[in-house]
Symmetry: C2
Subunit: 233 residues, 2 copies
């Protein structure tokens, strides 16, 4: 593996499950959703059908909690064969609003890493999802001052990254991306010829799972974010 961060001037951080906990809250919401529907189907079936509904609606709704709420409602209607009670639909709305209002829980070492790296590198946040949700989380996180720029992307494909790096006038060989998702944070970056570091989170949404294949030697994997300080200093 050829890891040389000597040229790096700009470090991009994913936000959800890289800087703070996110996927855990979706898993908890899925648990509660399955409980609300337990008289209709098994937990397993409910999980599967909800995921299918999210994938069916992804092009229409995009990423984020509001789309998830709408998919939960549509899924509840179908799974119950349109017999779900009105109060249960109301409970799904409450469940979603609670997700939106959750406090932000930083992952271990995040503050120290950003504080140290911000002395030497330009740090940016590159996240996808709902604009308002992400701005709000950054605000609650207390991390805003470490970042030169925050970009919420509608998706994290190679073209989204290319447009953004062009716009911010960042050279590929000066850019390092750090994130928990191989599919969104690592593989598109490696394909572009920039560098990436993978810091897996214990929970990964099925949609974000990726098989690295031949890319496996092209990026660094860390157990936790603070290990990056051994490589960037």
């Amino acid at each position: 593996m050829d890891i040389d961060f000597g040229n790096i001037k700009v470090v991009g951080f994913d936000a959800d499950d890289t800087l703070w906990v996110n996927e855990t809250y979706f898993r908890e919401a899925e648990e509660r959703f399955a409980e609300l529907l337990e008289k209709f189907e098994t937990k397993n079936k409910i999980d599967q059908e909800l995921f299918k509904m999210e994938m069916k609606n992804l092009d229409t709704y995009g990423y984020g909690i509001k789309g998830f709420m709408l998919s939960m409602i549509e899924s509840a209607l179908e799974l119950s064969n349109y017999t779900i009670s009105q109060k249960t639909i109301s409970s799904i709305l409450t469940l979603g609003k609670e997700m939106i209002e959750k406090p932000v829980e930083l992952l271990p070492g995040v503050k120290e890493v950003l504080s140290l790296l911000s002395n030497k590198y330009r740090l940016i946040v590159l996240t996808k999802g709902d604009l308002l949700d992400q701005e709000r989380k950054l605000d609650k996180s207390g991390l805003s001052d470490y970042f030169h720029h925050v970009e919420v992307l509608s998706d994290k494909k190679e073209s989204n990254y290319r447009n953004l790096l062009d716009h911010l006038e960042i050279q590929l060989n000066e850019f390092l991306m750090i994130g928990n998702s191989l599919k969104s944070d690592v593989l598109p970056i490696i394909n572009m010829g920039a560098q990436a570091v993978h810091v897996p989170f214990h929970t990964t949404w099925a949609h974000e799972e990726a098989t690295p294949e031949e890319s496996v030697n092209k990026y660094l994997t860390l157990n936790e974010l603070s290990e990056i300080l051994k490589y960037l200093n």
Copy 2:
């Protein structure tokens, strides 16, 4: 009125109801929503309650169709005292998805204005709402190539504009904003000391209505966008 656009180098355009039709689709959706609930309440009452629900949820959901869909569902549950049928909730979901998938209908003169102005000015889009919705509309509009930059803001308050102009390194005296909403596109800009042009759309969402008071002499009002060519050329 002191209108001098001699220093202007960058022209910002609002998108919804400035470049293309938007509010009309919300009004049509409200009509259909009221029809779905007609056995419970009068059209007038349904309109009022839906608007109240949108305002109650605005901090949580922000602007955009997904939040509107969730507010329609919550409003339908309350207005029907939790007796609304499951099929009607399904119809509300369909109604919202149809809004998201609507074609983009450009307003008169938009293409000509952008085409002419883009030879002399840096044009940018400054819109609020749902990131994915707005990107999709710009894409469908065929207008992307006229713009140097597109920014989707979570809100259009003075602070949002200030951050963006700083980030894009645009001087206040070089910036002109054009839009249909006094509250979002004109007043915050005038307050900052930049210039703004108001091009009213025939329909304005109640939330966007503003009373200009003493600001009325500080901006230009046009009947339609193409009149701007008399001032910028």
